[in-house]
Amino acid sequence: MTKKRVVMDSEQFDRSITRMACEILEKNKGIANLALIGIRTRGVPLAQRIHDKVSRIEKGHVPLGILDITLYRDDIGLRKEKPRLEKTDIPFSLDDKTVVLIDDVLFTGRTIRAAMDALIDFGRPRRIHLAVLVDRGHRELPICADIVGKDLSSSLREAVSVRLQEIDQVDEVVIEKIK
């Protein structure tokens, strides 16, 4: 049997996102040359929320993009099944921007490696920051996040999932044991 444990409920969820938005502004000293990019799937609504908060606090426009990293995966030839490809939409130049990559869970780091490769194909950002809602450890690549909603020590026999109102009808982070 799987045992679910909720480690972040909707209230904590919102507070974490607010703090992450503030940290992004603090790090970048405002919204000058800032761009936010959400990684599909759950990084996208997360990026949208952070974008809304950042724009509200600074009362300005921050470009927001969507990145699908499927074509940059390192396991594309190893998987039996082709992952479904969704659209990438970055309708602005990344040259000289401070790009904040946003994703839900930071785990092995492979997604972020792929995302950085993809970003470089779009231009030459001044710098790339990484913001994640949950860092669960177990990195396989030398990558770390700049802004973290919650540090979570997890075992490899556990699945950490972020659920979002926009996709899963609820805001929470849960840990469950997997066989």
């Binding site: 699908d68 499927t70 074509l71 940059y72 594309i76 030839g77 190893l78 998987r79 039996k80 099944e81 082709k82 479904r84 490809l85 969704e86 659209k87 990438t88 939409d89 490769d117 993809a118 194909d121 779009f122 231009g123």
Partner: protein, 307 residues
């Protein structure tokens, strides 16, 4: 949806769900061709062989560009430079290509059924890029992609296909695909250019072009193969164009937002007038652009596991 086809041989072999899946995947590839760096590393180390026994520029170039934008290695073989002229059988040539560990072979041949025969005898994925008068599935898929992108969906549209239906593999694949996707398909051409029993393909058949294109959402003109002028299927190009050329007067019969398509190469002044080909309704060059994304999607879906 789970993709589990090894080859793309024809529209006949594809289900409506599979067609929709291909079109949706292709849609995500459009954006890559708009980047400054039009390349993704997805098919690094894969080998794609373009084996075109029949002449082609557009389709071959399109496949080559699609492969290169996915970082695959693409190799072209044309009939004059292949060992076929030295008497090697087709199957031997295909087995040799496989021995060079090709992952995908794109084949065009003047005989119907050649890609199917080769697919049975090789482990490489085969894509039919046109076989005789049989099928040209990638053209039909890019045509459907163009319609879906510009019109939102294919289902329920009135689509007229005009010209030499009998000899056209583009028409055959499109009729199969568009009827599967729920379009109301009308074909028109002189009786000598309509295949026997074409009415059993689920389309409406007309010998008067006006009946087919009246209130149409999409008009697809087919290339008249001028080399067939001596085969007694039409008296003269001049007479053909008098009755079956899409000019601006004819376009007025269709809906105001009609979309004019042509698979190319066009005979300007024969099946389509220049003012229509270059006019506001024409999506002929968009078809070419969508063709790259569509073929990238097919290569992506077919390229198998490394191990």
């Amino acid at each position: 949806m789970k993709w589990n086809k090894k080859d793309i041989l024809g529209i006949k072999e594809l289900s409506p769900d599979e067609i929709q899946f291909i079109l949706d995947t292709a849609d995500s590839f459009v954006e890559i061709s708009t980047r400054d760096i039009k390349k993704v590393p997805t098919l690094r180390g894969k080998t794609i062989i373009n084996f075109f026994v029949e002449a082609s520029t557009r389709t071959r170039t399109s496949f080559e560009i699609a492969g290169k934008r996915l970082s695959a290695d693409t190799v072209n073989i044309s009939p004059s430079s292949s060992s076929l002229v030295k008497g090697e059988t087709l199957l031997d040539t295909a087995r040799n290509l496989e021995a060079m560990s090709s992952d995908i072979v794109v084949i065009r041949h003047h005989a119907s059924g050649v890609p199917h025969m080769i697919a049975k005898h090789t482990r490489s994925s085969i894509i039919n890029a046109g076989d005789g008068t049989h099928e040209h599935p990638t053209q039909a898929l890019l045509d459907m992609m163009t319609i879906q992108s510009e019109k939102g969906s294919i289902s329920g549209l009135k689509i007229a296909i005009v010209g030499d239906i009998f000899h056209s593999r583009v028409a055959r694949s499109n009729i199969l695909g568009m009827t599967k996707m729920g379009a109301d398909v009308h074909v028109a051409g002189p009786a000598t250019m309509l295949p026997p029993f074409v009415d059993q393909w689920g389309v409406s058949v007309h010998t008067h072009m006006d009946d087919a294109i009246r209130n149409a959402d999409v008009i697809m003109m087919l290339r008249i193969q001028t080399e067939r002028e001596n085969q007694n299927i039409f008296p003269s190009l001049r007479e053909y164009s008098r009755y079956y050329c899409l000019n601006s007067d004819k376009v007025k019969l269709a809906r105001q937002d009609v979309m004019v398509m042509h698979p190319g190469p066009m005979n300007r002044g024969v099946e389509i007038s220049s003012d229509v080909a270059d006019g506001v309704h024409s999506v002929i060059l968009k078809q070419v652009a969508y063709g790259i994304a569509l073929r990238m999607a097919l290569l992506y879906l077919l390229a198998g596991e490394t191990k």
